[in-house]
């Protein structure tokens, strides 16, 4: 019996490999079976409304929610009472920035953030600008990082909120959040510090006290929980106030009304608990897989560039550019492997990744980038399969590439008068 062909005309799929392979764990993650098991009873047996105060169905639901709050908060070194459950991190980011900007408007009209933040932050900032707020967008250096001094320098006595993400969703770089927290509070103790910790929480150690943050956005589906549930951690000591975006029954300390999604919240709690317990071991394993992928590719292919700092990076992230090969054409060759590209052709806007452009590496490298997101359920055999497929595909596409031909002939591509179209 022969193994099935990989469909790319390259050969056979090795034993132990099941296609397609999911290696896009920054976009989302599969729900851990332990998480599914924990949430299921809350659909049919313990289906009560956590706000029902007068019967056992409500009490059971409420107890489960309170337990989940503690589990989620424990991941950050915070208190369960400080968790506001939301529909996801986009809502959390919106609530953090709009809620704080609105409530503290009398204190100032200025926000500080970074060009490489998630669109949930950048688009929220744009809306606040339309409403009269001023926003400073910091440019990271070539490694994707901002410095504490750089952030503190942008803070004025009019600054209400500084928002810097813990780890980037495209290039996986980890910002020096603790040092930034210390630097901005030294400059202006009243300024609120928000971090979008969606990609970093549960992957790397993070503590709200050490980082001196006031607001933290989280999402369950990036940590092997379900989609549709997130949280905003809101500091209680000293108490941070937010104007709500959704009015209603006064749930979540009045900051986010709406009946709590009990099964989803239970799932989020369980996912956070597993992440906290297994983070250290998982990071070692993922880093080893990531390094194996990186070594395997770069030992066989020249002209491969890492986007952003390789050292200050999430263990499971590898974002690399294959010079002279366009990203979408490479994704086509990797059709049985789910990864992402910063190429313009993969975006609706036909613009290459704004994150990669902010690094100043040149648009051609953004067009040639691939993001590998290695996660809990990836195996070494999958890494080896993907390495081999990437190497063969890049070699084939380079044999089709006029830029590769010029490079090999020693022609400087930047010396040619190109006609942008």
């Amino acid at each position: 019996m022969s193994a099935p062909d990989d469909g790319n005309g390259h050969g056979k799929v090795p034993a132990g490999i099941k296609l397609p392979i999911f290696m896009d764990n920054h976009s989302t993650t599969p729900v851990d079976p332990r998480v599914v098991e924990a949430m299921l009873p809350y659909f049919t047996t313990h289906f009560g409304n956590a706000a029902s105060r007068n019967h056992v169905f409500g009490w059971t639901a409420e107890a489960a929610v309170e337990n989940a709050r503690s589990q989620v908060a424990a991941l950050l070194g915070g208190d369960g009472k400080e968790i506001v459950f939301t529909s996801g991190a986009t809502e959390s980011d919106n609530l953090a920035l709009k809620g704080a900007a609105s409530f503290y408007r009398k204190q100032g009209n200025h926000l500080v953030t970074v060009e490489t933040e998630h669109k949930a932050i950048l688009d929220t900032c744009k809306r606040l600008q339309r409403e009269g707020f001023e926003v400073t967008y910091l440019k990271p250096s070539k490694d994707g990082l901002v410095t504490p001094e750089q952030v503190a320098e942008a803070v004025t006595d009019k600054t209400i909120v500084v928002s810097v993400m813990l780890a980037n969703n495209e290039i996986g770089v980890i910002q020096p959040i603790e040092a930034i927290g210390a630097a901005i509070k030294a400059k202006n103790p009243k300024v609120l510090f928000h971090t979008d910790a969606v990609q970093g929480a549960g992957k790397i150690p993070f503590d709200v006290e050490k980082a001196r943050v006031d607001l933290v956005s989280l999402s369950a589906h990036k940590m092997y929980g379900p989609k549709g549930i997130g949280a905003l951690w809101v500091r209680r000591k000293p108490r941070i106030r937010l104007d709500p975006m959704i009015d209603g029954g006064g749930h979540e300390r009045g900051m986010r009304s709406g009946t709590l999604a009990v099964p989803m919240i239970v799932a989020f709690g369980k996912a956070a608990e597993i992440a906290k317990a297994e983070m250290a071991d998982e990071a070692v394993r993922l880093r080893a897989l990531r390094d194996r992928l990186y070594q395997g590719i770069t030992s066989q292919l020249p002209e491969v560039y890492v986007n952003g700092s390789l050292e200050q990076r999430l263990p499971g992230n590898l974002n690399i550019s294959f010079a002279f090969v366009e990203g979408e054409s490479l994704l086509m060759a990797l059709k049985d492997v789910a990864v992402s590209s910063g190429s313009a052709c993969t975006s609706a806007s036909l613009e290459p990744s704004y994150v990669l452009r902010a690094l100043g590496a040149g648009d051609e490298l953004a067009h040639s980038s691939i993001r590998f997101g290695i996660g809990r359920f990836n195996t070494e055999a999958e890494i080896d399969y993907v390495t081999d497929l990437v190497v063969r595909s890049v070699a084939r596409l380079r044999s089709l590439s006029p830029l590769w031909e010029m490079y090999q002939e020693g022609i400087d591509i930047n010396s040619i008068q190109w006609t942008p179209h």
Binding site: N8, G9, F324, V325, E326, E328, S329, M332, S343, A344, C345, L350, P352, G362, D363, E364, H367, S399, L400, S401, P402, L403, W404, E405, I413, I416, W418, T419, P420, H421
Partner: protein, 132 residues
């Protein structure tokens, strides 16, 4: 994005990949696009008695760009220069079932054909004036 079967077929089995010596008198070379925009096409023609005898391409770009240039080389082989100059990008769009977002790939292929013809004609003019 889902690709049409024809795009996939050309992407997996591209026709006429390669290069001619661009210094040869009977070769015309078109190089269009820009690396910063994510696509560059090099299309070459070999001409005898006003007829495109052979064609080659190399493309840096998405699957649709590779397929468009591969198809373009197939189309122009055997055509006179005037016939090839009349090829419209819409023929490529139709043949490959390109979605609206990929129409620029076909435009680039049309530009590449025209650029190759122009380059060939320039060479002939230069040769004629050298001889004169």
């Amino acid at each position: 994005m889902a690709y049409s079967n024809k795009v996939i077929e050309h992407y997996e089995n591209p026709r006429n990949v390669g290069s001619f010596d661009k210094g040869e008198d009977d070769v015309g070379t078109g190089l269009v696009g820009a690396p910063a925009c994510g696509d560059v096409m090099k299309l070459q023609i070999k001409v005898r008695d006003g007829v495109i005898e052979d064609a080659r391409f190399k493309t840096f770009g998405c699957g649709s760009a590779i397929a468009s240039s591969s198809l373009a080389t197939e189309m122009i082989k055997g055509m006179t220069l005037d016939q090839a100059a009349e090829i419209k990008n819409t023929q490529i769009v139709q043949e490959l079932n390109l979605p609206p977002v990929k129409i620029h790939c076909s435009v680039l292929a049309e530009d590449a054909i025209k650029a190759a013809i122009e380059d060939y004609k320039k060479k002939q003019t230069a040769k004629a004036s050298d001889a004169a």
